[in-house]
Subunit: 130 residues, 2 copies
């Protein structure tokens, strides 16, 4: 625990200093450290996959804008919802989390599709990362 | 386009029927179909990884509850934020999306940690999927 940062009751900073000051918790701190490394690896994989996903949806946005299609396709969304629900159950994930993930990426993709359509099908209106 | 579902100006249903009715758009529909298959593959991978992530965070929740640690660790969150920002830029993803992803998973994990702590370290209080 850093001397400079007081803790409040809703936060516990878990690191090597904290373990050194609280030997009775050293094992718990070490377990959390290892689990966090796995969580960080999963996050790196997911963020990399999100990068690919938004490249694909940006391409969809360009095709839609050129063909004059609307950003949304509700029938597609219904099918995605049912499919991700099945995948979540098979994978042992609360389907509510899969649905929140779907809402998050679909909302972001639609925002970007609208920007592409407004600029006449030019994805360059997005930032350098999209 | 299904006869039963009228379209509004904000939604275009893109499928084989629509392509058959609008031959001038057939190429765009086919391009979107292929891109959507890639998007679906990415989503299957991400939902599977989210399942692993929530297994790990559930384990962290049990360790924290048993050791009496609070669900939150703001210093950990600051490090995660900086790390995911770097990974997003390297991967070509708008860092704003990576930050929204982080907020989403951290919020869900904290909710579950609180439930675990309230039940005395028993992750069984979560549903069968967690």
């Amino acid at each position: 625990m850093s001397d400079a940062e007081p803790e409040d009751e809703n936060s516990t900073t878990i690191d090597r200093n904290m373990a050194a000051e609280n030997p009775q918790n050293a094992k718990a701190v070490e377990q959390i450290r290892e689990l966090r490394q796995s969580i960080d690896n999963v996050d790196a994989a997911i963020v990399s996959l999100l990068a690919e996903r938004f490249k694909y949806t940006s391409m969809v946005g360009v095709v839609k804008a050129k063909a004059g299609f609307a950003p949304a396709d509700y029938q597609r969304e219904d099918r995605q919802m049912a499919r991700l629900n099945r995948i979540a159950i098979d994978a042992g994930l609360d389907p509510e989390i899969a649905e929140k993930y779907r809402e998050f990426v679909v909302t972001e993709a639609k925002k970007r599709h609208r920007r592409i359509a407004e600029s006449g099908g030019n994805p360059g209106v997005l930032d350098v990362f999209a």
